[in-house]
Amino acid sequence: MAIKVIIAKPGLDGHDRGAKVIAQALRNAGMEVVYTGLHQTPEMIIRAAIQEDVDVIGVSILSGAHMSIVPRIIEKMKENGIWGKPLFVGGIIPADDAEELKKIGVSAVFGPGTPTSKVVEFINSVVKDKK
């Protein structure tokens, strides 16, 4: 049973290189990766995550809007009864904000230069029942 991950790009920034690198790395690690494309609202991401029945949700934000977008994603996850699925964030996230995000329930935050193997490791460690 393959681990299924959704990689989403919420908000207005169009910098999707990072999301694509991560999607590719997870694919190469044997995971099934749903890529949503750019400019997603939290509602769209959570609808997609539900229909795809993913194990992990990953969002990439480089616009600086993470402190407003991520709490809304968490809110939507709670509303839809999927809070508890691991959520990780990648992009340009200052250290203080990263701490804040972890406090509100984000499982991991990955900044620029993170080796992709670290993301793979993280997902394998939070989704144990599939392997």
Binding site: T36, G37, H39, E52
Partner: protein, 310 residues
């Protein structure tokens, strides 16, 4: 899996539907899901969308969803993308073209990785379509991976097959070759804002003139990105279904599908299970004990007969 989840799925809950699809995708026992209601399946119009990579399949699907929703019907989509033969991973990207429908509660979209299947669909696409049919979706769009000439699973798994090509897809010789083109019920030449659409149409018309079928596959020209030609395409799709029903061909389609499903289950009971963790352990142990492989296979086969589900 429990009956409560099945009930919620039948009542239209997307989360329950998604969980059951995962269960079916993993080859688990479908008896719990369908119970004694298998006869309820068969009402949905299953529309296959196939064609070479980059022809615009996902975009056409997205625009067809809009057409279906305009009639007030709910719509389900199963979109297949290939699994890597090396890592078994998959990048499922069809959704990126369907963003207009993400928040529509009447639309359910599911991506599926082909998991080693070579026919253009995932091994369990058909039973997933059965389940969506069971949940009451009257229209199910099934998108294949980008195909070449012989990935024709979609022909036996759907009622209507739309083959999407582009003006650049080849000359008349390509059109006369066997395979996918023979299975088409409708041709869609997409991206006709590019040069060569008319030549492609003429080549296709010539190729089709050489075959003899009751149903003469219509050719529809579209520019899907701009929604041009899509309502004509949907009209032809509905006409094809009317033709199937009027000429008693729908039943043949269903029987054909039934046969291929039984093949699927027979195969899944027998093959491809040596690497399951439980079996892997047993096989490794047998290797250490120098048990002949045929003896191991016989034991596994015997066990399988007693409990065919994974």
């Amino acid at each position: 899996m429990n009956t409560e989840t099945v009930e919620r799925a039948k009542a239209g809950n997307h989360q329950a539907q998604a969980e059951i699809i995962t269960y079916l995708e993993n080859g688990k026992n479908p008896e719990i899901i369908f119970g004694d209601s298998y006869h309820c399946i068969g009402n949905a119009h299953r529309i296959g969308i196939t064609g070479p990579p980059g022809a615009g399949k996902s975009t056409v699907v997205s625009k067809l969803i809009t057409e279906v929703r305009r009639t007030g019907s709910k719509c389900a989509v199963v979109a297949c993308d290939p699994s890597s033969p090396y890592t078994h991973g998959a990048l499922l990207g069809d959704r990126t073209r369907m963003v207009d429908h993400f928040t529509d509660p009447g639309v359910f979209i599911r991506s599926m990785a082909t998991r080693g299947n070579l026919g253009g669909l995932a091994p369990t696409t058909s039973i997933v379509a059965d389940f969506l049919d069971f949940c009451g979706y009257p229209v199910i769009l099934i998108e294949t991976v980008g195909v070449g000439q012989t990935e024709v699973d979609v022909v036996s798994k759907t009622d209507t097959v739309v083959v999407i090509i582009t003006p650049e897809s080849g000359d008349s010789i390509q059109m006369m070759k066997a395979g996918l083109l023979e299975g088409a019920d409708i041709f869609c030449i997409n991206k006709t804002d590019r040069p060569g659409g008319d030549v492609m149409e003429a080549d296709l018309t010539f190729g089709l003139g050489l075959s003899s079928r009751d149903w003469a596959p219509p050719i529809v020209k579209t520019i899907a990105k701009e929604s041009i030609g899509i309502s004509e395409l949907y009209t032809q799709i509905k006409k094809h279904m009317e033709h199937l029903i009027k000429n008693d061909e729908r039943n043949n389609k269903c029987i054909e599908r039934y046969f291929s499903e039984i093949d699927f289950w027979l195969e899944s009971f027998v093959f491809d299970k040596a690497l399951e963790p439980e079996r892997k352990k047993y096989i490794q142990k047998s290797f250490g004990e120098d048990t002949p492989p045929w003896t191991v296979a016989k034991t596994l086969w015997k066990n399988k007969m007693e409990e065919p589900w994974q």
